[in-house]
Point group: D2
């Protein structure tokens, strides 16, 4: 039997970006099928047209081939081809107990992992084998916990049904929103999404984190006109100027009194060499706010900035929404259930500080769907000491947190 | 026997960027060695330490392997490994005639060639096979003319010695400056660098173009600090902000009354996704002026802008000179020699208009060295109708210009 | 006897900017002296060297002459010459009751008041007579309430001593910090600063507002070099470019997760006509945060931006701190006292919403001094319906709030 | 009799900005009327509706009153009220000689004159008495020469008629264009506009300067929305952000290969204090080029930048053309006439260097009208050593140039 740590390290070595979790998802599906769970995957587990920011076909194909070559489960891979990498696994319980749903996200980040000797995954030989991708947010641990839990539950079934939602593309807010409309969460009584870390130390448990930010992720491509930079600069329209003007303006989107807001430009790419006026430039950006309407206003103003920047420099701009997340609030009954389970397994229950580290998570799409169909939901922070911050090359977490995380989830499921 | 057009089309299909002209240079060396010319190549033909903007080792190696697989001449390839792709070929003449030197540049540009049916290389099957590189400035034609000329001269030797300088990395101003200090041009009486196109129609000849601009090419890399864009934006220092501020400032480098000046930012690249504050961003830029001192002043001010942009956003910046070209002026005796040869072969001699298309060319480094050792030099425009402008995906030239170009050069060499 | 409304309307007609409140302060001092209170004014009421952003001598003189011509009290004007416009008035109480201190700020804003017929001060004839200045933040009401209160207390003395601190230059955070070190607040048991409006409706009372932001106000002057914009642009160094680059960067000072922050550029001024490269440009800006350390960090980064912007464009920059305010928190005992008094006079006690309108107020300097010497302090919001937002040309408040405000203060003083 | 130097110094003490030359123009008209010349002034000398950038009525009135108080000629002032400050003076000749026209511009610049002891006008007591205005381009000398010339011609009439066009508002290109359509230049055989300085030393004469640049002067006003910068920044739309983004973009208007171009932002003004989001900001800018079509393209792109900057920041922008000048070329016959006259009076005839100092002058509007009606015209540079560059606070010229300038003009008129 593999422990959460075993699974975590295997996944850490093989990090896959959003909608390309072919190896991860197929192995997850295979393991659960082998345990006898009902497994739904491919387009049945996620509405294809609701996905945002799906990679280019060439990238999907390359990742698929890599998964096939490096341990993907051939029974489940074909259904996932094209980026249909969600997995929902269900175990019927022993009786009429409440229906519990859990979320485990599976995707990694486009970060080059630290090769420093002080970085434990490097030192202990389970660092990413695939340069340019890294589990730098703990999703490997989330999947690991869910799989160890599944083994325990299989051995001794709980009183009610359990569903685990293995979600692709949490980063960017692209997968949860596509899993919600399948209806597979409808009928769940208690839904819990657990996240490791979040500035909480090992042993601490935050039963509900309500500060999750709504967000909008945009890809803007400025189009101009190419020219020789010295022979005829006047014939060119330099797409980088649109990117530069927009970036400075976006960074300055006015703060909104009384709200937490964020704006970030995370990528600019355009041009080849200095003597060619570049005719295209890509900008990736996002807005966030602790209120959906405030975020919608920020997004609208960001779009106006992109359009204005294009006009300033004689360019056009295409803007695509590639990710979108809502806020959600915990139900008191769900918070209480997690609090009780946490205390029972020896975790220290804390309230997240007003300025604790919170970002966005598209588990909110699943939470809102559960709540709309009558269930209760909460977003839970499971403490884990970190070696480096989330989303940085030196991120690593205290694996001791995994065992008590599995205990917590088991207790919760067993009621 | 291969004509200039045959050679040109083979090279057009196999475009190689600066310092990676392994296939081109080794085949050129092989062809001339087969004709019996003295051939110097590798580090003997170009001072390694004077090269600027040499590609990364991985890129050099990949290009080398491609050349080996696709027709590079194994006799000459090894000496070129690592980017030593200059070739100088010499033919001793039949008597004591004047020593003539010619320049032919070999490198292509990082442009994706047009796949439109209206683009002749595509239509006729000799478009670039290597996506992301293209002969979009006519260097394939320059090499083709030089090789047909060499065949003619071998068959019927001229009265004095002839040297042909096959130069790598003209784009960016990185190769000519490294060939000059070998001293191989010393002792040449008449040096001519010919360039096709330049807004002159087929049949026209500009015996001297004096408006070549001095330039400086810089690569700036801004370094900041990574952070999660929503959890702790305050811990990040976004390198893209330095790139954006610098780009807008650079674009506005004040014009200099009475001079032709240019400033261009041709590439920005940094970051991966919008939720990670990027810790590095690369900017490629260049300054140009019709006077070396004016260009030096522009470069100094550009460097101050890069430093100031870094300071503004809490970043550091590394700036590397990756290309540098001087101005040069034609000697009247050289202009007269070209004028006479051109008239003799039926070309229409024109003066370049004040606002004719001129840029930079590091043939100037060779010209200045020739002049310093007592010889005469000129930069010549050979008319060729163009299908699209220089440095754009639809560039193509009228191949009819090649035959009269060879006639011109032969006449010049024979005196 | 003049009511709070009478005083308010007289002051509204004669708005005076920070440190030029010569008419206001001298008339306040005169009225209280006539009532028999002890009055301290001029340099004794405010440490001259601690003032920030004092106007130029010419402006001070012009305002002084205007005050002399339009009703300033000649008994008190001379001591105020040069911007020493603080007034502290004290009444000994009838017994040994607790010592109470109140703050009333006196300055107006550089806003042109609305001349629209819908604007009540205009319609009823008490709009500003002095174009370019306006009581657009309710300080006229604060002074009016304090003076009606003084009349009531004189008629029937309270059990303990009362001090009223009439403060200049609250806008910009320049006067309170200079009054605190006189020590005149030392020994006060209960200190209350009341502000009208703040998004609270008439009849509401917020006994403590803790969200006051720390701030730093800076004046930056960029210095460049003048030149004819067409004859020799290269000889000029355009100071406006520094102002423009800095403004865009400042607007984008990165948000700080979990905190309320603000950055604003409120004024740029430089140059005369388009054909002269301007050699100087002034920028007024401010940073704010709900935490003093966060604000100090924002200020440091703002200064780096100003320095970097200067370097980018070949300029120098002088930066002067012209205002500075700290945060402060209410003492529970003070909050309770205000709550009790408010209920007693029929006000509806509310808690300010998390996103209620709060800014900065340098009453915090007086509050902190009181607290340091053993007293209790709070910052109180007194509801008043507004016709237009604070700091805008159509600002006006419901004068009905003044009477209950005086009731509140009287009750508080009488214990 | 007053010399050119006497007149020059009186005008230098009393500098008047464009369209407010009430004292200057009325005294010029008076002096010429006293000499018996026919004088046309007011709306008859300049088409009112063709003026651009006329000052606000309040400024016109203030300048008018000042002129009335400080020596303006009451016979001519009333017709000029409102900015109709052109004067055309005509002397019938003694016979049928050719008709000669001369241009003398009268306006000063908005510059604070140097008060340094090294500045001769300050040292010798004829510096500007009116702070904020200065003759920093030599127009005082132009008028001085024309008036001394008129005295000489009156004493000894030339063979043909002479007209002198005293032009207002040359700076900014606002007056010449309005004088041309009166038709008063029609019928002139030889038209000459002389300018002092222009980098030519005393004693030198450039009979024709062809590099005059076309230009367009724009005033842009960005309109946003006011708000309290801390209470509700999200409600504001900061007009300064539009000004800043536009300024950086404008400074970077792409150079045009083969042409001389200029772009300058010379003034930004907006806002009052840092805690009020400013709702308006003014920007003054100009484009120039050595070709009218190129300038028209630059102007169009500048307007797009202004519009785009407004859109980026949620603003609107009004753009007004406040000045506009065309290019013009000299007629060979006019050049020859000036060359001959110059040599005859001992001036050294030079050709302006390709990079000599040239800007714009709206004498070109008069030159083009002369040429359209069959006459010949030229723009003449009269050397004068300078103490500081044109358009700077330390500008001053060698007054010795004035006497030979009058000699030159007299010779030219007498044929």
């Amino acid at each position: 039997m593999n422990t959460a740590v075993d699974w975590r390290r295997d996944l850490h070595r093989h990090p896959e970006l959003g909608f390309t979790e072919f190896r991860t998802a197929s192995r997850v599906a295979g393991a659960l099928a082998d345990l006898g769970w009902d497994v739904v995957t491919g387009p049945d587990a996620m509405v294809a047209g609701e996905r945002l920011g799906v990679p280019l076909e060439a990238e999907l194909d390359a990742a698929y081939e890599r998964a096939r070559a490096e341990g993907g489960d051939p029974r489940f891979l074909p259904a996932m081809r094209g980026g249909h990498t969600a997995v929902v696994a269900m175990l019927r319980g022993s009786g009429q107990g409440r229906a519990v749903g859990l979320r485990a996200d599976m995707d990694a980040l486009p970060i080059v992992e630290s090769s420093g000797s002080g970085h434990r995954p490097t030192r202990d030989g389970f660092a990413s084998r695939w340069s340019g991708a890294m589990h730098a947010c703990g999703h490997d641990g989330h999947v690991g916990m869910a799989l160890e839990l599944a083994q325990r539950l299989t051995a001794d079934p709980p009183p009610g049904p359990v569903s685990i939602f293995f979600q692709p593309a949490e980063e960017g807010g692209r997968g949860g929103r596509a899993m919600a409309p399948t209806g597979l969460v409808d009928g769940i009584d208690l839904f819990v999404a657990v996240h490791l870390g979040l500035s909480l130390p090992t042993g601490a448990l935050a039963p509900s984190i309500d500060g999750l930010l709504a967000n909008s992720k945009l890809r803007a491509v400025f189009h101009g006109r190419s020219a020789h930079a010295a022979l005829a600069p006047q014939d060119g329209r330099n797409a980088l100027l649109g990117a530069a003007s927009a970036t400075l303006a976006l960074q300055g989107l006015t703060r909104v009194a009384g709200h937490q807001t964020r704006v970030a430009v995370g990528r600019i790419s355009g041009g080849t060499s200095s003597n060619i006026v570049p005719d295209a430039a890509e900008v990736l950006l996002e807005t966030r706010a602790d209120d959906g309407d405030v975020n919608a206003d920020l997004e609208a103003r960001a779009r106006a900035m992109l359009a204005g920047a294009a006009q300033m420099h004689g360019l056009t701009v295409e803007v695509e929404l590639i990710g979108s997340v809502t806020t959600a609030r915990a139900d008191p009954s769900a918070t209480e259930a997690v609090t009780a389970a946490g205390r029972a397994v020896g975790l220290r229950v804390v309230e997240p500080a007003a300025d604790s580290a919170v970002a966005s998570d598209d588990a909110t799409a699943l939470m809102r769907r559960v709540q709309a169909s009558g269930g209760a939901a909460t977003y839970v922070g499971l403490g884990a000491d970190l070696a480096g911050p989330h989303h940085t090359p030196s991120f690593d977490f205290d694996e001791a947190a995994l065992a008590s995380g599995v205990d917590l989830l088991e207790r919760l499921v067993r009621g």
